[in-house]
């Protein structure tokens, strides 16, 4: 038996990715055809019924987002896909683009049809050049087959889709930074308000969704919102692509129904901890997510339950860390990532990450003192509550949560001991 549920990923490894024929053979474009025979309110209703929530990390209900986008009366509107996938430990969007690109294209086409958008853009991170090529090929085929371009399927609905490449910046996954970058500038987040749903790409109303979000829409249109929702929990409808990484035997991307537990994911899909070691810590949601210990393993995958436990599913990344790793060393790695990726614009994030990295370096070298806990607390509070954008607001999450679960390991470093020998505990090389 498998705990997987293949809706979105049904075509993975079963079709030739850029073959439109293959795609159609397995029901491709049924969703668009259905949608084009529905009234806008019906499309929105169907998505609301599906309980689909944004798969990019913020989990905003997609039905409501689309309804708002539909209600804005300013044209032209743009449909933009966030394929920046920069959250470490996440590669599910790449799987969708590489293995079933038409799902994404169809989903975006349905959105465009709903909004009356004429142009759409897929912002793909620069590192995914191959995915960009696959998408470009698929777009071309779709245009030739009249699923994109002028008068789609003989209707008066026309929609063009283009791929934009990023150039290496995690922050460009933040929606206003993504828009800045799409317009050719450095991807530093914009002032809000105005929000991009009103003033986004080229200053016009913009609907922005994650790859997985868009790609789920054809499925929902095809099987119906209620049916889709029934796969998941009462609160979190349908399925989720998760990326399992770190010290498990079987790493990779899996589609699972909401409601299964982390334990099932790690020990059944992941086949347990690799190299005969023991589980120490889990980080969920990518580098911006919380770290926790084994005691929360029976938490079911659900946005609401997770929140109640102070966790967040984020992008669906599940990073498993075994007992050969040091929590301080890990937190330092995460902090250095955010320091490197901070756009630098606002004080708490730019300076806070610098100071945190410096403090963690002191821990790793056995030079920290109890006073440093006060600094960590002050800085992480300022970052979390006072940063300009989501990057700075979540950058300290891993540190503060791991401090909650593994305080004694930090303490040991103050007394000059790294329990795993990961840290040098000396001034010399790291």
């Amino acid at each position: 038996m498998s705990i997987e549920a293949k809706l979105l990923s049904a075509n993975f490894d079963r079709i030739i990715p850029d073959s439109l024929e293959d795609y159609k053979r397995f029901g491709g474009y049924n969703g668009l055809k259905k949608a084009m025979n529905m009234r806008p309110e019906q499309i929105i209703e169907e998505i609301k019924l599906s309980k689909l929530m944004g798969r990019g990390g913020a989990a905003y209900p997609t039905g409501i987002k689309w309804e708002q986008a539909h209600e804005v009366k300013k044209f032209p509107k743009y449909v933009v896909c966030n394929a920046d996938e920069g959250e470490p430990g996440t590669l599910k969007d790449k799987y969708v683009m590489d293995k079933d690109p038409y799902k994404l294209i169809e989903g975006m086409t349905i959105a465009a049809y709903l909004l009356g958008a004429r142009e759409g853009y897929i912002y793909v991170r620069g590192e995914y050049k191959k995915s960009q090529e696959i998408l470009r090929g698929a777009i071309k085929n779709a245009v030739n087959a009249n699923y994109l371009g002028e008068n789609i399927l003989g209707s008066d609905f026309s929609f063009d889709l283009e791929v934009i490449s990023g150039a290496g910046a995690y922050v460009c996954g933040e929606n206003s930074a993504l828009v800045e970058s799409s317009e050719g500038r450095a991807g530093r987040p914009r002032m809000k308000p105005p929000f991009i749903k009103i003033s986004g790409f080229r200053g016009m109303p913009t609907l922005l969704n994650n790859v997985e979000t868009f790609a789920s829409v054809p499925v929902i249109m095809d099987i119906g919102g209620e049916e889709y929702a029934s796969y998941g929990t009462d609160y979190s409808g349908g399925t989720k692509l998760i990326t399992l990484s770190g010290n498990v035997v079987n790493k990779g991307v899996f589609e699972v129904p909401f409601g299964i537990t982390l334990r099932e994911i790690i020990y059944e899909l992941g086949e347990g901890i690799a190299n005969g070691r023991k589980l120490k810590m889990i980080q969920m949601g990518g580098s911006s997510g919380a770290c926790f210990s084994e005691e929360l393993l029976d938490t079911p995958l659900c946005y609401k339950t997770a929140k109640a436990k102070g966790l967040s599913l984020g992008s669906g990344a599940i990073l498993v860390i075994d007992d050969s790793n040091c929590v301080v060393d890990f937190a330092k790695c995460i902090t250095e990532f955010f320091l490197h990726e901070s756009c630098g614009k606002c004080t708490p994030c730019r300076e806070g990450n610098r100071q945190l990295a410096k403090i963690l370096d002191k821990f790793a070298k056995g030079k920290a003192s109890k006073k440093d806990y006060v600094s960590i607390d002050r800085i992480s509070n300022a970052m979390t509550n006072g940063s300009f954008c989501g990057l700075g607001q979540t950058a300290a999450t891993a540190l503060t949560t791991s401090l909650k679960f593994f305080k004694e390991e930090f303490d040991a470093h103050i007394y000059g001991r790294c329990l795993t020998d990961c840290c040098s505990m000396s001034e010399g090389e790291e």
């Binding site: 002032m191 708490p348 990450n353 410096k358 006060v374």
Partner: protein, 575 residues
Amino acid sequence: MNMINIVIDNKRLTVPEGTTILEAAEKVGIKIPTLCNHTDQTVKANCRICLVEVKGSKKLSAACATPVWEGAEIVTSSKSARDARKTVLELILADHAQDCLNCIRNGSCELQKLSMEFVICEPSFDNIAKELPIDDSNPSIVRNPSKCIRCGRCLEVCHDVQSIGTISTAHRSDEYVISTAFNMPLDQSACVYCGQCSLVCPVGAIYEKNDVDRVWESIDNPNMHVIVQTAPAVRVSLGEEFGMEPGSIVTGKMVAALRRLGFDRVFDTDFTADLTVIEEGYELIGRLRNGGKLPMITSCSPGWINFIEKFYPDQLEHLSSCKSPQQMFGALAKTYYAQRAGINPKDIFVVSIMPCTAKKYESTRSQMYSSGYRDVDAVLTTRELSRMLKLAGVDFRNIEPEEFDAPLGISTGAGVIFGASGGVMEAALRTVYEVLTEKELDKIDFESVRGLEGIKEATVYINDMPVKVAVANGLKNARLIAERIKRGKCDYTFIEIMCCPGGCIGGGGQPHTTTNKAREKRIGATYTEDKGMKLRKSHENPAIKELYKEFLHEPNGHLSHKLLHTTYRHRKHIK
């Protein structure tokens, strides 16, 4: 307008939609600390020093950037807001070269002031400031990136007000800086030395090149005859350095204070402003009569000269060949005045007090040695002068006013208004009209060319001929004019262009109290000063008449060309 009900610091308040928390707080008498915020600029919200708590949310809001909403309950100094603000300030300080006692902004620094208000006694975080090289490649502007708090005010001015864009944000993370492209020195960049960036910088990261020491040295030298000229725009701004209201007229106090410092003669650039009107007026008349290049554009703003030389070098022919009043003064000081006073020009040291940083550069140009010596030896900005006065312990507010020295201190209202955008145009019209019509103007106030508006236009009828003129201030507007000329869509006869917003009263060397509101007050004061003058037309200035009679002989004559006119260069620009 929609009205919104909020509670802020326990007080109920109704404010118009769109009001920010910062503005709402002001209404209940609370000044929330700010740093990146500037009244004349867009909201940036990047420093995060203005964080406040809105009940019901753990996340804090940036007061400068958050519009209030119906029912919002704001606590501006809750514990969480206070803690976060203090942390933010300490984070900034930890990345700052904190040597206030050796800093040009000691006492006028917004960061220093906040540190005082927050009572920062003991640093909580390790100082990790990197020492970055200082750029003092040019005679006008110094950049010290180690002091930069990355508020972004300077680049907004440079891009959006001046349309130069030579500095920008660059890099990210802890390397995030405000920098020129490829970190090149300003003198290799497109910078026009306008100094507008130095006006808005809250800290000591961009400032005027300090020439105070050279001036003290010359004063200390008993063999030097040190004379000083004061630009029209300084008399309406200098008082602000001593806590006086913007728009205070301090002409007489300034003269007295300069004498106390030890200058041998205190003269007035207004004198050569009057002279500029005559020379430029006759040049215009000449172009009109002989089919010369039109529109003719004024040339007394060195920032504007830098701009046209770097960005529109093929339009140089439109420029009047007149030097700026500062340089005319220098050339005359070491010829006409030297002769009259019987002093060897090599023993004369000419200092100018200017609202401007570009004038520092101007005085070093190779064309500005027409007396056989460097015509103007040192240029001090209003800010530098105030530092000299403070060092010398001058009690500026209480000092008894005195009069300028003759003859280079005698001027008219036309010279005074050079300081405000539209002033050169108005002064020129007062003279050109009367010369060409040989009739007296019945109304000498040309109100349509006054004020802060970017581009102003007027049509004047001279001998029943319509003459279209335009006035632009701020280089963004200058660029619009230059683009019109480029497209052949510019039918003006005469254009006044000033590099700085509002003209020299808003110059890059003015006090840090400069805002558009202060600019308006200074403009008002300028026209008040003009109104109070006995003579208000340049051609009526008796000292100018004497100058022509005894020395120059005729406007645009041989000697004028040698001393008072100049040439321009194509300068390859890097954008």
